[in-house]
Amino acid sequence: FRTVEPLEYYRRFLKENCRPDGRELGEFRATTVNIGKFSLFFFSGSITTADGSALVKLGNTTVICGVKAELAAPAADSANKGYIVPNVELPSLCSERFRSGPPGEEAQAASQFIADVIENSQMIVKEDLCIANGKLAWVLYCDIICLDYDGNLLDASVFALLAALKNVQLPSVVINEETGLSEVDLKQKTPLIIRKHPVATSFAIFDDTLLIVDPTAEEEDLATGTVTIVTDEEGRLCSVHKPGGSPLTGAKLQDCITRAITRHKEIKKLIDKVIKSITPE
């Protein structure tokens, strides 16, 4: 029945206010995060060659983020700003819906979304990345790769990015006055200054009325629309991303925002706990 009439199968569960995997409509999947350079378990490894990395699992959806810092000259019109370049990749190994080749629309839209979240929330101020005005600045390449796609990519990506950036340690760079070259001191490291902590919460709209939190891939396919709300710790909205789909009233949107603010507190606690546990390294 599930493969022949998926929508009817789902409707039966929704009438009882629950979902096939046993969750309630407002329940999130189990979230785990792994930060840092050393991998003790083979399946939860993080990247040792990156300057900062994190692995996030939201139920089955697995997203890994690696941040690499490189040096570059700042642009002519913004001499005191560095660069942050996010890139979301959905390789064909994560799901059968993605083919190998140039990035598809979903990957590009996700990359744009992440870039917007970084910009809107001001989690990293580009002026902080500048080393020498007009001459040298940091470029942070954030590569977000999905290893297993089971819905709710945007939430997992934002969380992975946040966790990875908290893990980044930038070596100190000094410009030698005589030679004009930069000297990188790998022994002296300072963590990246992160001003805000944005957290994304995604909802799927079903049949124009029901709102489901944290949709799986199957639910996303059957849904008639999606909404993603990004909030920061002050309860300010960094992004209300609703790319089309069923119309929502202002009141429903408000309901989503309230739930997003609650979710933010949970995620923040989780991140703080994990950071504390790896600090002694």
Binding site: E106, K242, G250
Partner: protein
């Protein structure tokens, strides 16, 4: 049929061309509904990641209103060409897209319109901001409002704002939507009364 309506609030203008329902390529056709495709071409340069993201938003907004089930296994293509950009570009694209759908005579369950709100540093709300106002604003929110119940079809934000401010902008956008729908009615009346 090629239909070229265009919209220009202020100096922003976008040309919309709609083709369809036409035969779809085997790889793209859907068995139960029409496959909608949106192509957004910027004024200069090749389409990049930003255009792809806008295309996805426009496509899903159009999919919500077009009654695709009446034309299964066909393709509807909407091509938007940006002629000039002086602010409020996304809402201009939304309006052009809706007029294109209307002009082509596609079956729709409701109309939609795009409204952009800019939140100034002092909290003042400006509708349909110019490029300069957008840059100076603390936050820029774009909504697609539908015509039947004034609900939100699509929403994008740039910059951050508080929840109350967002609700205020949404209310202002819903009021402004009335003016835009009246404009649709007037221009269609003019077109078909000739």
């Amino acid at each position: 049929p090629v239909t070229p309506p265009w919209l220009s609030p202020g100096d922003t203008s976008v040309l919309a061309g709609l083709y369809g329902p036409a035969e779809a390529k085997l790889s793209k056709e859907l068995p139960d509904r029409a496959a909608l495709e949106v192509l957004l071409r910027p004024k200069v340069g090749l389409p990049g990641v930003l255009e792809r993201s806008r295309e996805q938003q426009l496509r899903q907004t159009c999919e919500a209103v077009v009654l695709g089930v009446l034309h299964p296994r066909t393709a509807i293509t909407l091509v938007l060409q940006v002629l000039s950009d002086a602010g409020s570009l996304l809402s201009c694209c939304l309006n052009a897209a809706c007029m294109g759908l209307l002009d082509a005579g596609l079956p729709l369950c409701s109309l939609f319109c795009g409204v952009t709100c800019a939140l100034g540093p002092d909290g003042a709300i400006t509708l349909d901001p110019t490029a300069r106002q957008e840059q100076e604003a603390r936050a820029v929110l774009t909504f697609a409002i539908d015509s039947s119940e004034r609900k939100v079809l699509m929403s994008t934000t740039k910059g951050s704002c508080s929840v109350e401010e967002m609700q205020q902008c949404l209310a202002a956008a819903q009021r402004a939507a009335d003016t835009i729908f009246q404009f649709y009615r007037d221009s269609l009346q003019r077109r078909y009364s000739k």
